[in-house]
Amino acid sequence: MRRYALIIFAVLLAVLPQLPVPEFWITQLNYIGLYALVVIGLVLLTGVAGLTSFGQAAFVGVGAYTTAYLSLHFGLSPWLNVFVGLALTAVVALVLGWITLRMSGHYLPLATIAWGLSLYYLLGNIEALGKYDGLLGIPAIKFFSVDLSTGRSFFYLLWLLVLLASVAVIHLLDSRTGRALRALKSGATMPEAMGVDTYRMKVTAFVLAALLASVSGWLFAHFQRSVNPSPFGLKMGIEYLFMGVIGGIGHVWGALAGAGVVKVLEDQLQVWLPKLLGGGGNYEVIVFGILLVLVLQYARDGVWAFIEARLPKVRRKVDWADAPALSERPRPAHGELVLDVNAVRKEFGGLVAVNDVSFQVRAGEVVGLIGPNGAGKSTTFNLVTGVLPATRGAVTFRGQRIEGLSSRRIAQRGVSRTFQHVKMIPGMTVLENVALGAHMRGGRGVAAAMLRLDRAEERGLLREAERQLKRIGMAEHMHELAGNLALGPQRLMEIARALCADPALLLLDEPAAGLRLQEKQGLIAVLRQLRDEGLSILLVEHDMDLVMEITDRIVVMEFGTKLIEGTPEEVQASPAVRAAYLGTEH
C-alpha cells in the first residue's frame, strides 16, 4: 500500500511538467524540492539523532558558491563541481562536529549559529565572490546533450534527487546504523553499552545532513543561475528548521510536507500581511515564530503525523527465517575465572560509595549482589561496565584489565548489561530494540544501508533478535512499539537485547522488578538455561525468593562495603545480613 503510494507520487511528479501547469507552480515546486533536500537532512539530525543545526543554510551556501565559482572562473562541469562542494562541506561539518559533539547537545546549535553568521559575512566581503552582489551568469546543468535551463527540465533532475534522498534515508533508518542513530536521542549510556560509538554516530548524522544541504545548494546555484549571500544566512537556516518542525521532524516525508506548507504559506503571507499591516517587510516571520511555538506546544509531531495516523500500519515482513545463524564467541570453560573485582573503590567527593569491594564470578555461575538501598550495588555495576571510572582498584575480565576502558570497549569484550531504570527507544518496535543489542555483531555502514546492500547481514541480526525474544518468551510482542509495553515486559526485552550481544558475562540490574509471578518463573527458567550454557551472570535483585532460588553465591553489600559472601544458605543464616536488612534488636 505504502509502496504504491510512493509509486503514484513518483508518477505524478513525472507527468506534472508535461501538463499545462502554470510556470509559477513549477517554480514553486522547484523551490519546495530544494528546501526539502535540506530538511530531509534536518530530519536525520534533529528528529532522529536529537541534535540540531541552524547552519544548514550555510552548507547550502558552500555547495552553491563552490559550483558557481568553479563554473564561472574555471569553466568546470557542474557534475564535477558537486563533488568538490560535497568535499568542502564534509570538511567543515567534520571540523564543527569534531569540536562540538563531544560535549552536550546544545553546543552544536550554538556553534552552527556562529558558523552561519560567519559564512554570511565572509561571502559578503570577499572580492572574488562578488561581495554582497554575488556571482551572476552561472550556466545551467547539462544532462548529456540536454540543457536543464528551463524550470520544467530542471524539475526532473531535482525531484529525482529528492526522491532518491528520501528513500535512501528511509532505508538508512531501517538498518543496523539506523538503529544506532535512533538510539542517540535516549542519551549515550545505553547505546554505548550496546557497543555503539555514539560520538561517531552523531558526527555521521551531522555530516550527512550537511551533505544533503550541499547538494541542494549545488542545484540552487544552477537553478537560479546566480548566487548572493542572503539565502545562506542565519534566517534561512532557522527557516529550514521551521519547515522540519511544521512538517514533522521525525518523518522523512514530513520534510517534504513541511517544505511545501511553509513555501506556500510564506507566499500567501507576503501578499496579505503588508496589506494588513501597511508598509513592506518580512512580516511573515511574526506568523512563523508564533506558529512554531504553537506547533511545539500542541502538535509536536507536525503535519505528517496527521497523515501518518490515517495510513495503514506496516508490519515488518518476516524474511529472516532461513538466515544463517550469527557466529558466536568461544565460551570460557566451565569454572574458568571470568570476572575478578579486586579492591575496587569509588568516591564521590567525600562520599565513599564503593569501599574496596572484591569478588569473583566464574563461568557458568550466577552470583547475586544484594544489600539494602544505597549499599552501592548499582555503583559497583557501573564500575564493572565502565559507565563510571573507578577511583582505585582493579577489574579483570577473562584475564584482561578493563577498569580504565570505556563502556563500549568493555561491551566489545563480552560484558552485556541491563539497566535499573529501563533504557530503550520507545518509538522502535520490540524487535528493533532487541536487534540494537546485536550491533557489534554486524559491520555494514551508512552507504550499504542506503543502497540496501546490507540485507543479508540485516536478516542475520533480526533472526538473532527474534531468537532471543522467543527464548525470553516475548516473541508475540515482537512487532509492538517498545513504549507500549508494561514495565515487566520492558525489562525482559532489555535482557533479550543484552543476550543479542553474545556476552560471556551478563549483568542484570533488578530484572524481576515489576514482573508478575508467571513472568518471574519464566525468567528463572531462562537464567538457569543460560547458566547451563556456560554464561556467567551477576545479578542485583531485591526479590529474595528469586535470588535464593537462582544464585550459586551471594555477595552482600552495606554502606559501600562487602558484608559477607557465601552460598544462599550461608547468607540466609547470617545474623549480620539480617541486621543489615532489618536492623538489630536492643
Binding site: T100, R102, M103, L110, A114, G281, G289, Q297
Partner: protein
C-alpha cells in the same frame, strides 16, 4: 598601531564588553533556571533602545500594545485554566486576572499620557524599563511554561520562534529606520590619551551596580536563593516548595530588564535598528559559552574579551569583524571539549 590607539580600542572594547557581560549573565541565568537557550535575549535590547527612541519622538511606542495584548492573553489563559480546574471560586479567578493586568494597564496609561508631552528623559527611561521588563515573564508564560519539562532541544527551537516573532513585531513597531538616542551625559573627561565620555562612565557604573545587585540577590535574598536552587535541581526545588514556574518568570523578568537596560545604555553609542538586538545578544552568547553557559564570572570575562576582540577586529579588518567575533567561538568550544570531555546525559 601605537599605544594611544590601542588604549582607545581597549576602552571601546571594554565598554561594549560590559554590555555583553550583562547579557551573558542574563543568558546564563535563564539557561540555568529554565534550561532555555534564550536566543531572543537580544530583542529586549532593541526593544529597550527603540522604545526610548519612540518616546523621544513624542510617539507612543508599539511595545505598549504588545504588553497589553500579552497581558490580556495571559490573564485569559490563566482564567480559563483556573475555571477548568474548578478548584477556585470565581472571585479568586478574577483577582488572579487583575493581578496580571493592573501593572501593564497602569504602565500603558502613564505612557499614553507621557508620550505626547515629552516628559523628561529620566521618566522616559523608567517607563521604557516598565514596559519591556514585564514582557519577559509574559513571554515565559505564553511560550515556555507549557513546555517547561521539554528537552533543551525543544526549548531552543521555541526560543527561535520567539526570536522570529519578536523581530517581526519590532519591524511593525519601530519601522525599518535606525535610531540613535541622545546621550545621557554629554561631558567628556581626558585621562592622558584617553577621552572618557559621560556615557561610557554611565555604562561602567550601571554594569557594576547591576552585577553587584545580582550578587546580592543571589546571596542575600530568599527569592535569589530559590532561583539558585531551581538552577541546581528543579525537582528538588519543587519538593522544597519553590515554584519553578515562579522561578522561570523571575529569571525571564531579570533577562528582559537586563536587556532593556542594556538597550538604554548602548542606544546613544550606536544606531539601533529593529533587528540590531540579535547580533548583540549573540555576542552575549559567545561570551556565555566561555563559561559553558554555567559560570557567571567566566561569562563576564568572556564578554570583556569579546568586546576587545571586536574593537581591535574592526580596526584591523572592519569588514570581517563579525566573522572574527563569531569564529572565536570555535577555539573556545575546542578548549572546553578537551577540558571537560564527554558529558552527555541530560
Amino acid at each position: 598601531m601605537d599605544f594611544s590607539i590601542a588604549s582607545i580600542l581597549t576602552l571601546d572594547g571594554v565598554t561594549n564588553g560590559a554590555i555583553y557581560a550583562l547579557l551573558a549573565i542574563a543568558l546564563v541565568l535563564v539557561f540555568a533556571v529554565t534550561r532555555a537557550i534564550f536566543i531572543a535575549q537580544g530583542e529586549f535590547v532593541a526593544y529597550g533602545a527603540l522604545t526610548l527612541a519612540m518616546f523621544q519622538l513624542g510617539k507612543l511606542p508599539g511595545t505598549v500594545w504588545l504588553l497589553l495584548v500579552l497581558a490580556l492573553l495571559v490573564a485569559l489563559l490563566d482564567g480559563v485554566a483556573a475555571l477548568r480546574r474548578r478548584d477556585q471560586p470565581m472571585s479568586r479567578v478574577l483577582v488572579g486576572a487583575a493581578k496580571t493586568l493592573w501593572l501593564p494597564l497602569l504602565v500603558c496609561a502613564v505612557s499614553a499620557i507621557a508620550a505626547p508631552r515629552q516628559w523628561p528623559m529620566a521618566v522616559q527611561c523608567l517607563l521604557t524599563l516598565a514596559i519591556v521588563t514585564p514582557l519577559g515573564p509574559l513571554v515565559y508564560r505564553l511560550a515556555y511554561q507549557p513546555l517547561a519539562d521539554a528537552t533543551v532541544l525543544v526549548l531552543l527551537i521555541v526560543s527561535v520562534g520567539v526570536h522570529f516573532a519578536m523581530t517581526g513585531l519590532g519591524l511593525v513597531f519601530f519601522g525599518a529606520e535606525g535610531f540613535r538616542n541622545p546621550s545621557f551625559w554629554d561631558d567628556r573627561f581626558n585621562i592622558g590619551p584617553l577621552t572618557l565620555s559621560g556615557q561610557t562612565l554611565i555604562i561602567f557604573m550601571v554594569s557594576i551596580v547591576l552585577i553587584a545587585s545580582l550578587w546580592l540577590l543571589f546571596e542575600r535574598t530568599l527569592r535569589g536563593k530559590a532561583l539558585r536552587a531551581t538552577a541546581v535541581n528543579r525537582l528538588g526545588a519543587r519538593l522544597m516548595g519553590i515554584s519553578t514556574t515562579g522561578a522561570g518568570k523571575l529569571s525571564f523578568a531579570l533577562a528582559a530588564f537586563i536587556g532593556a537596560l542594556s538597550g538604554l545604555l548602548i542606544g546613544p553609542t550606536t544606531t539601533m535598528f529593529y533587528d540590531s538586538g540579535f547580533l548583540i545578544g549573540l555576542k552575549g552568547f559567545v561570551a556565555a559559552i566561555f563559561g559553558g553557559l554555567a559560570s557567571y564570572p567566566a561569562a563576564a570575562f568572556g564578554a570583556i574579551f569579546v568586546g576587545i576582540l571586536e574593537s581591535f577586529g574592526s580596526f584591523w579588518a572592519s569588514e570581517f569583524k563579525e566573522v572574527i567575533v563569531f569564529t572565536v567561538i570555535l577555539p573556545v568550544l575546542l578548549w572546553r571539549s578537551f577540558q571537560h570531555g564527554t558529558n552527555d546525559e541530560e
